[in-house]
Amino acid sequence: MSIWTTFHKWGSPRWFYQFSGRLLPWLGGLSLLLLIGGAVWGLALVPPDYKQGNSFRIIYVHVPASAVAMGAYMTMAIAGAIHLIWRMKLAAMVMKAIAPIGASLTFLALLTGAVWGKPTWGTWWVWDARITSVLILFFLYLGVIALHQAFENREAAAKACAVLVIVGAVNIPIIYWSVEWWYSLHQPASIRFIGESSIHPSMLRPLMATMAGMYLFFAWAMLLFTRNEILDRERNTRWVQDIVCGDDKNAESNSVL
């Protein structure tokens, strides 16, 4: 099979639905294992930090959330670009699916970051470079979600959001860099707020687990949401009707999710 036929096969919603269905239990199981295992490891099996005490343990949820929030936006941008260039409907569905997940994770990153600040530096919010950048990323997500809802025509919504997401993705490095620069102007170098560099590397091992777990969770959620989009959009096709009504006939549910 040539590259193009393979590419087009991947773009078929039906193939995607069947293929993703096989991946789901693995992604789900592994991600929950890594997340829960990593959390237990980080909460109880690692010593407290020399400077920050026990509050540093928040790192194991905060950093994965913000890393995946960023990665999710970039994935959304790639999906949008694929949709614009190759007119692949599936890419538009993936893009739409990612937005609420990414926004939730960004919100989570902001909340955990803020709460981390209180016991460590005494305030609920610190306008340091990283948290400010995450806040801006949150605004970017909200903009995409709002733009999608404002269009009545689904195809126009998908294309408009694709343009916006790509513009946003191009801007993210500029924004991050500008905010870093801005922060370096306004803070003396002796004070460094998120002092992860002071955390001993051996204590960052649980972070690898929760980080991997969070990425896998994102992939899992992305597939779940995209599959729902497929069921919705392709509801007039025989294969979707067979899946849903075939379940009814067998009086059993294929999967909980």
Binding site: A150, N153, L164, N171
Partner: protein, 225 residues
């Protein structure tokens, strides 16, 4: 028609149309003046505090005025179907889009930057900052016009487009704000503000090169729907 003469024709047409529409172009300027006047009322008239906050206040208010103005860049053409004609004609969109955005800047951002020293006086901005204020606003507002045009192109076909426009482009405005206000603040402190202006110049060149692609694509989407 060469691309350049096409752009020039669109530019001339837009400026003439604006002249015929009367004082509509001055609305963002009035907004700029009024909102700047709100600040002393809100935070107190002490000259020292105003002077300290003036660079940031002036830039944020200019940004908001620019945001307000962005909604109008394609609206009248959309309403009278000129936009549709522009897209249906097989002439290159890229130069036309650049011309429209620059015309918009000439009518909103440039007057804003020329007016800004007056408002600097109102907010007790030290004289050392005046030149930096004008220069950074002139250059920065051009970038804001391009970014705003992207948002305007995406939302021109929507019913409640105005507020949505603000939501989607404000995050993109932030780098311009950072360097623009820093230019003014550095000038007030007696330092060199050319590096920040240079950064704004870089933003302008990137916007000039890339934004028209997004704007043209967004216009097609908005008109087609």
């Amino acid at each position: 028609m060469t691309l350049f003469s096409l752009a020039l024709a669109v530019l001339r047409r837009d400026l003439l149309a604006a002249a015929r529409r009367g004082s509509e172009w001055s609305n963002p300027l009035v907004f700029f003046v009024m909102v700047c006047a709100l600040f002393p009322l809100g935070i107190g008239p002490e000259p020292q505090r105003l002077a300290e906050l003036a660079p940031g206040i002036l830039w944020v208010v200019a940004l908001l005025a620019s945001l307000l103005a962005s909604d109008t860049v394609f609206r009248s053409d959309y309403d009278d179907a000129t936009l549709e004609q522009m897209l249906l004609s097989h002439q290159a969109l890229y130069p036309q889009v650049i011309a429209k955005t620059l015309a918009h800047w000439l009518l909103s951002g440039l007057p804003l930057s020329l007016l800004s020293p007056l408002l600097g006086v109102l907010l007790h901005l030290p004289t050392a900052g005046m030149l930096a204020l004008m220069a950074s606003l002139a250059l920065g507002s051009a970038v804001l016009s391009f970014i705003g045009a992207i948002g305007a192109a995406l939302t021109v076909g929507l019913r409640k487009g105005g507020l949505l426009l603000s939501l989607i482009i404000l995050p993109l405005y932030i780098p311009v704000l950072i360097f623009g206000s820093s230019a003014v603040k550095t000038a007030v402190d007696g330092g060199p503000f050319l590096p920040q202006l240079a950064m704004l110049g870089v933003f302008f060149l990137v916007a000039l090169a890339l934004a028209p692609l997004a704007i043209a694509g967004a216009l097609r989407i908005s008109v087609d729907q």
